[in-house]
């Protein structure tokens, strides 16, 4: 059996060779860009690997957390939109905020009326009514405000704060969404939790696509400011390299912390909860609170990775978030790399991303030649949209990789490290 060390070395050298190939074939500018995107995906994968690998939480809503963090990061770091602040917009939004606060307070109060002796059945009814009333009041106040903002200032604009603060707040927002979702879905069986997380990520995407007053919707917001000098100042290779330096340090920082946490009492406790929830509770571990903690921490890291990824693309386009690229691709990285193994996950992310990027030209190349060959042999006419269809082949390959890995290498390329004390 190949020892762990040789597996790791093999994977590292394999990835290095692939990277070198890309640099040689497509040049440094493209190579560095690919590495930056891969590093962002590696960060996201780290967030997912601790949720699934450490604590056994099945999160299929990664796209929703990436989108939330990217949105908050855009909101915080995008330059201030003077048109908005001078318009009546802020005042109207203030009113909406007020309605919301009062409404939520009332709904909460209604939900506690059983303390005043209201029978439980009526309590839920009252809460629902007050909740619905709040919802109607808030939306009725929001619609005029939204249309006014869209008319006068196109959208709310940002707060012009530094980008790193944007990423941090984006991560916190994603963590917060993780907390809220954890509260709702923690009692569920894993596959129903998966459906709920899938639902939430679709809702986040729908919200961002339609709240034009906040996100300019399909008109997209750009250019998103970078934490480092942009290509216009330093040229493509250097600016991207500096961006890579930022994301690489983030990876190293999180890697060291998570590696340290794996063998620490915290990591041990999480793994115990994953292995046997009943026994962990009997040994004094508060299972639900700890899972909630992992939902927050995992999604915080996913959020930061997501914010970095979207900022790098300089465009905030809600429609660009796809479950395939932003949830299932990352699942392949984690499963193939090795769930619960931080190094395996990072290398898995790099490896899978490079293959994913390279598969685009490769697929096109293959299908073109295939089509011309078929044409020559038996005059088969390729359909017009052959190119887009060729790209769909990758979706098939991703699905195939998931099923094969689950069947033949469930532990992944670098399996979870068993903590041994010599």
């Amino acid at each position: 059996m190949i020892t762990y060390r040789t597996r790791a070395l093999l994977m590292i050298s394999g990835t290095a060779v692939l990277v070198a190939l890309v640099f040689a074939w497509l040049g440094a500018a493209y190579g560095v860009r690919m590495l930056v995107e891969a590093s962002c995906f590696a960060l996201i994968a780290l967030g997912l690997t601790i949720q699934w690998g450490y604590a056994g939480l099945f999160n299929v809503g990664v796209m929703g957390f990436i989108a939330t963090a990217a949105f908050v990061s855009m909101l915080v770091s995008y330059p201030v939109n003077g048109l908005f602040w001078n318009s009546a917009g802020p005042a109207m939004l203030g009113r909406v905020g007020l309605y919301l606060v009062i409404g939520v307070a009332l709904t909460f109060a209604a939900s506690q009326t059983h303390l005043l002796g209201l029978p439980k059945k009526y309590r839920t009814l009252v809460t629902l009514i007050v909740g619905a009333a709040t919802y109607l009041a808030v939306t009725s106040a929001l619609d005029p405000a939204a249309s006014l903002i869209e008319a006068e200032a196109r959208f709310v604009g940002g707060f012009g704060m530094p980008v790193w603060l944007g990423w941090l707040l984006g991560g916190i927002a994603a963590g917060g969404l993780g907390w809220a979702m954890g509260r709702i879905t923690l009692g569920l069986r894993a596959d129903y939790m998966a459906i709920a997380t899938l639902g939430i990520s679709e809702i986040v995407k729908a919200f961002l696509k339609n709240a034009d007053w906040l996100t300019k919707g399909t008109l997209t917001v750009s250019p998103l400011p970078w934490p480092v000098p942009t290509p216009t100042e330093l040229g493509f290779v250097m600016s991207r390299a500096s961006y890579l330096a930022v994301t690489a340090t983030l990876i190293v920082v999180f890697y060291v912390l998570l590696e340290r946490a794996w063998a620490s009492p915290w990591g041990r406790m999480m793994r115990a909860i994953r292995d046997n929830e009943l026994s962990a509770a009997a040994m004094g571990k508060d299972v639900n609170r700890r899972r909630l903690e992992m939902m927050v921490l995992g999604n915080f890291i996913i959020g930061i990775g997501g914010a970095a990824l979207v900022t790098f693309s300089t465009i905030f386009d809600p429609a660009s978030f796809q479950p395939l690229n932003h949830t299932f691709l990352i699942w392949v990285m984690v499963i193939l790399g090795g769930a619960g193994n931080n190094l395996g996950t990072i290398l898995g992310a790099l490896l899978v991303y490079i293959v994913w990027i390279m598969s685009e030209p490769a697929a096109l190349f293959l299908f073109d030649h295939g089509a011309t060959l078929a044409n020559q042999l038996f005059g088969w006419e390729a359909p017009a949209d052959l190119a887009t269809r060729a790209l769909q082949m990758r979706v098939f390959v991703i699905g195939l990789v998931i099923t094969l890995v689950l069947r033949f290498a469930p532990q992944g390329l670098l399996p979870e490290k068993v903590v041994k004390y010599e």
Binding site: L257, R260, A261, S264, P265, W266, G267, R268, M269, R271, A272, R274, D275, N276, L278, S279, A280, A281, A282, M283, G284, K285, D286, V287, E293, L297, E416, V418, V419, K420, Y421, E422
Partner: protein, 279 residues
């Protein structure tokens, strides 16, 4: 302290005037599942430093009672006190922090972690369990870890399991898993240990080791045990007093020799004595 009560009813045992020696005090507890009254107005006590046995024929409600004390589910009525404080209905992890440690009939090991880690995870409020400490206060955490590890290695030696300390717990034999689970008791200072059918699926020689370990912990460390068990010989060897439950409540309590001669108990076991109280 011995009291004899006629079968089937559950007269409250004389409460020794508030002695601080009672670790577990179950007061008039009942539990209903649908229209089946599994436990019916049952009271029992476990004294500090004792190894108290709980026996009874199937369907007598002893497993239900044991699980309520261990925090698996809350009673329908009545109160359970641990160290004099009311713990009725508290979840399992809460009871652990108050000093109640339970083992399982079928060993519940953490299968993907090594045997040593299975023990190291037991101590409560380890500073390293706080994620901030785990990340940033490495020094303090490492210092504490050395202590925990030393203690765990000691327990492994005591249980003669050192040779499998780095083995995945899932790969251990049935007997080794049972020993490992008992080892958890030595990783903390529990006020009381609940042993759930420790003899189930265990061969004779291993049973001797387990019984010897329990006796040693009780004698040297003064640990209190509350043992639910089918193996009458083990009960006879380990426990005094032994509480007999039948038809959902306590039927009698006393040393095993006397219970074995007690007509009512023999009839309860032999005749099945199953009187199910309809709602």
């Amino acid at each position: 302290m011995r009291a004899e009560v006629p079968t089937g009813t559950c007269a409250p045992l004389e409460h020794a005037a508030g002695t601080m020696t009672t670790i577990i005090d179950v007061q008039n507890v009942s539990k209903r599942f649908g229209n089946l009254l599994a436990v019916d107005g049952c009271s029992l006590k476990v004294e500090k430093g004792s190894i108290t046995g709980l026996i009874g024929p199937n369907g007598a409600g002893k497993t239900t009672m044991f699980n309520m004390v261990a925090g698996a589910f809350a009673p329908t009525s009545g109160k359970i006190l641990l160290d004099g404080k009311d713990v009725t209905g508290l979840p399992a992890h809460e009871l652990f922090s108050r000093g109640l440690l339970r083992t399982f009939q079928i060993a519940q090991e953490f299968s993907n972690m090594t045997a040593l880690e299975n023990l190291m995870m037991v101590p409560a409020n380890q500073s390293g369990e706080n994620v901030v400490n785990a990340f940033f206060r490495r020094g303090r955490v490492m210092h504490e870890e050395r202590g925990t590890r030393g203690q765990a290695e000691e327990v492994m030696q005591l249980l003669r399991l050192t040779h499998v300390k780095n083995e995945r717990a899932g790969n251990l034999s049935g007997g080794q898993k049972k020993l490992l689970e008992l080892g958890r008791v030595m990783m903390t200072e529990p006020r009381v240990v609940l042993l759930d059918e420790i003899a189930a699926g265990v061969n004779r020689t291993l049973l001797n080791d387990l019984a010897a370990a329990v006796e040693r912990l009780n004698k040297e460390k003064g640990l209190t045990f509350f043992v639910i068990e089918h193996d009458m010989d083990l009960i006879a060897r380990l426990c005094d007093p032994v509480i007999v439950m039948a038809a959902g409540s306590v039927m009698m309590q006393g040393p095993m020799e006397e219970i074995r001669r007690h007509e009512g108990v023999i009839e309860a076991y032999f005749g099945g004595g199953k009187v199910e109280k309809r709602a």
